[in-house]
């Protein structure tokens, strides 16, 4: 059944995307599939500190940056996972990023990006947000464990894939993403 859904999803993409983008989607799907196997979910869970997660939802009208000013990570876990994501991105024969996203305990309606990469592309991240409303497709991946290709923005292709920890729980997901036509100047800021 699971295989059938994946195949039907790929057939659907093949039916609606132009040729070049169809090829990109196929390559990104391969990257995302590998990510599910390779990315260490336990390490992902160690990246953002409990303190930072606590501050993430604090609001203080007299201290408007209280959340970001207290954002911190365990750098060794961050570096280990980031290096894996960079290696994964190099599986694709075109420029792509593999971004790490994670749900937030106690906030099932929210999701956060945890690691971004050098092309600075994501189909979902509003620039600067520490967390945001849960993306329905991400929820589906987190709930079902199935990869999903998203082409909501014209010219953009993201493949979402689950990341598991050693207990077998889905604790994160990756977004393998590229653009049919890259903007060399966007997000240079």
């Amino acid at each position: 059944m699971r295989l059938l859904l994946i195949i039907s999803g790929m057939i659907l993409i093949a039916g609606v995307l132009p040729g070049a983008e169809r090829d990109m989607a196929r390559e990104l799907d391969e990257v995302a599939r590998a990510a599910t196997v390779i990315v260490d979910g336990d390490a992902c869970q160690r990246i953002v500190t409990p303190r930072a997660l606590d501050y993430m939802f604090k609001k203080d009208p007299r201290d408007q940056w209280v959340d970001g000013d207290n954002y911190e990570v365990n750098d060794q876990a961050f570096i280990a996972v980031k290096k894996t994501l960079i290696r994964l991105s190099r599986l694709a024969p075109f420029p792509c990023d593999v971004n790490l996203w994670m749900p937030i305990a106690g906030h099932p309606d929210k999701v956060r990006v945890v690691i971004r990469n050098a092309h600075e592309i994501s189909q979902f991240w509003p620039w600067g947000k520490l967390y945001q409303d849960m993306i329905p497709q991400m929820k589906q991946v987190l709930d079902t464990g199935r990869r999903m290709t998203v082409t909501a923005k014209p010219g953009w292709i993201s493949v979402l894939a689950p990341v598991h920890n050693s207990l077998g729980d889905i604790v994160a997901l990756v977004e393998a993403v590229s653009q049919a036509r890259r903007d060399a100047h966007e997000n240079v800021k």
């Binding site: 201290d63 750098d75 960079i86 050098a118 100047h185 997000n187």
Partner: protein, 613 residues
């Protein structure tokens, strides 16, 4: 009181002939001090109003200034009824060396307070023919059009009094406003006493601000000559107004804009620079000064520039802490040093600067505004790599810059000898009065950072930045963002807290145009530079004390804050709220400046200048 006495007692460089507004019936010209911005209905904008604001409208512009700088005033055309007019400026033959520039002031409608403020300055060819209401500004019931007049006094000008006039033709009649410029023997030094830096990010905004130009070149825009000319024009406008322009060329996760870095090839020990073409087209004219060849200030290289170096460039973060990272970094930075040396680009400080923050998810440490002291070890590592990449005694001026806030005090110690350019948050620096001298003494560069004031603040507000820098003894300051006027700066303005220049395209000018605030800031730093030059005959502390007293009735100590008790705690325990409260005492002296605050300081400076031979 005669106009001359009034000028000397109130406005120094600006003397007035009192003019009751009730007699203004025919079309006429009036003048206002630069700190009294006119509104489009015959008054002065509310933040600039003083008890005698209406008395500031004058029938003559009487200016007094040193050589080697600009002097300025607002010129207003008042029309009792709608209609056409023509306006021109001229200087007498003996004043031929003086150059007068005329700008139309755009009245921006600010949504937040529903008022109009003049700010963008549109350069004009003379005579200027138009009508009131000004068609493109679309202000209902407009009765006044404002103009900004800049008069440039070359260093070679002979001291003396020069004359000129503004001439208005309307309703078949001509009227004149006399302009008198008293040029003193004193000369403003070439080097500004404080560097005024204007920051920006990337280049994508240029396509948005110049849609016609970018459409014309379509996909080739970002590689076109027009694009690079435009960037150089931004550098020029800030330079001409005694500032410096910075463009950061990379993002928080390491994406580098193509024109900010040479192309790279290979990886590990084989990584090297493959192409300098775009980089050199971008920076060559800025590093050799040729981009400024027509400036009145003379051509000279830009003093500072960001390098593209970040944790992902030139070395891939994939190799962080491995031999490959060091190889990639050292090889490429060494090639850069060779290239700059061979080109003779040795007069610009090349900044290795890390702008990223953890909160933007690119890297696991804060390059900008370190809060958690453990992050300092990354600076130490980059210091090691940089030392390895650069030959000892290189004439190329690489500097390692850090923008410091929370952890500043610790960084000054831990990173001594590694970081040698600091851009400090004003809040923490305000309780470290010994820091600027300590840093300068060991050869570091120290600036502080800030942001431009809104147009809805009193015009004088922008003088607080150079004034504070000079009082503190730092060498410069940064306005963090200065080219973003918001979605609609013309009719629904956000106030301009992130813009000191505007795109000129809507006026047929494919270049940036200046602002009233930029001009006032320029005139302020000219004054400060002149004042500082008098330290050969009067102790600098005395000059500062006198200026501070006139500016806002403060003493030297009032510009600093006591070090708060929480500063002894780990920075992770600090709060932004406590930080804000700790800076209140000194900040409070700058919050409500008298609109004539700088005029009083200028009067003092001109009095000292008049004593110079």
């Amino acid at each position: 009181m005669s106009w001359l006495n009034l000028a000397r007692t109130v406005a120094l460089a600006f003397a007035l002939v009192l003019l009751p507004s009730s007699i203004a019936r025919a079309a006429e010209l009036q003048a206002l001090s630069e700190y009294s911005r006119p509104d489009p209905f015959g008054g002065v904008v509310t933040p600039d109003v003083t008890p005698d604001a209406h008395g500031h409208f004058a029938r003559a512009a009487m200016l007094e200034t040193a050589r080697g700088g600009y002097t300025s005033f607002h010129l207003v055309v008042k029309m009792p009824h709608p209609g056409p007019y023509a306006l021109s400026l001229s200087m007498d033959r003996e004043a031929a060396g003086l150059q007068a520039d005329l700008y139309r002031e755009w009245f921006h409608f600010v949504d937040s307070d529903k008022h109009y403020y003049p700010d963008a300055l549109i350069p004009l060819k003379q005579p200027y023919h138009s009508q009131i209401p000004e068609p493109d500004n679309r202000i209902p019931n407009q009765t006044v059009q404002a103009f900004w007049v800049d008069i440039w006094i070359p260093r070679q000008a002979q001291p003396g009094t020069y004359h000129g006039r503004a001439t208005l033709e309307a309703d078949g009649k001509a009227s004149e406003l006399p302009i008198e410029v008293k040029v003193l023997a004193a000369t403003i030094p070439d080097e500004d006493v404080i560097t005024m830096d204007h920051n920006s990010y990337g280049s994508s905004w240029l396509a948005g601000d110049y849609p016609n130009l970018s459409r014309k070149r379509s996909d080739a825009f970002f590689r076109s000559n027009e694009f690079f000319s435009l960037i150089h024009a931004y550098h020029r406008i800030f330079y001409e107004n005694h500032g410096e322009f910075h463009q950061l060329g990379y993002g928080h996760a390491g994406k580098v804009g193509p024109e900010y870095a040479p192309d790279l090839e290979g990886s590990g020990r084989r990584r090297h620079i493959s192409n300098w073409e775009l980089y050199d087209r971008h920076y060559g004219p800025l590093f050799d000064g040729s981009a400024f060849s027509e400036s009145r200030r003379g051509a000279r290289p830009i003093p500072f520039v960001y390098l593209p170096i970040n944790p992902e460039w030139p070395a891939s973060f994939l190799n962080w802490s491995e031999p490959g990272y060091e190889a990639e970094f050292v090889n490429v930075v060494s090639e850069m040093e060779s290239h700059f040396r061979e080109k003779g680009w040795t007069r610009t400080y090349l900044e290795v600067f890390f702008n990223h923050k953890k909160r933007y998810m690119g890297f696991p440490w804060d390059g900008d505004e370190v809060r958690f002291p453990a992050d300092n070890r990354y600076f130490l590592e980059y210091g090691r790599l940089l030392k390895k990449a650069l030959p000892a005694g290189t004439p190329v001026k690489f500097v390692f810059r850090a923008d410091a806030s929370w952890d500043m005090e610790k960084q000054f110690g831990e990173l001594a000898g590694v970081v040698n350019m600091w851009v400090a948050a004003g809040d923490v620096l305000s309780w470290l009065p010994e820091a600027p001298e300590m840093l300068r003494h060991r050869g570091d560069i120290i600036w502080y950072y800030s942001g431009p004031p809104s147009v809805a603040s009193p015009a004088v507000t922008i003088t607080r930045f150079p004034m504070r820098g000079w009082m503190w003894g730092v060498q410069g300051f940064v306005h963090w963002q200065t080219v973003d006027g918001g979605v609609d700066p013309w009719f629904h303005f956000n106030g301009g807290g992130t813009a000191l220049v505007y795109p000129g395209e809507r006026f047929g000018i494919e270049e940036p145009i200046p602002s009233v605030r930029l001009k006032i800031q320029r005139n302020c730093v000219q004054d400060l530079t002149l004042l500082d030059s008098f330290s050969h005959r009067k102790p600098i502390a005395e000059l500062k004390s006198d200026a501070a007293g006139l500016y806002n009735h403060t003493s030297l100590a009032d510009w600093w804050n006591p070090r708060p008790a929480f500063a002894n705690k780990p920075t992770s325990d600090w709060s932004g709220t406590a930080l804000g409260e700790a800076t209140r005492p000194a900040e409070s002296h700058l919050e409500k400046l008298d609109p004539s605050a700088w005029q009083k300081v200028r009067q003092y400076i001109l009095r000292l200048a008049a004593e110079e031979k």
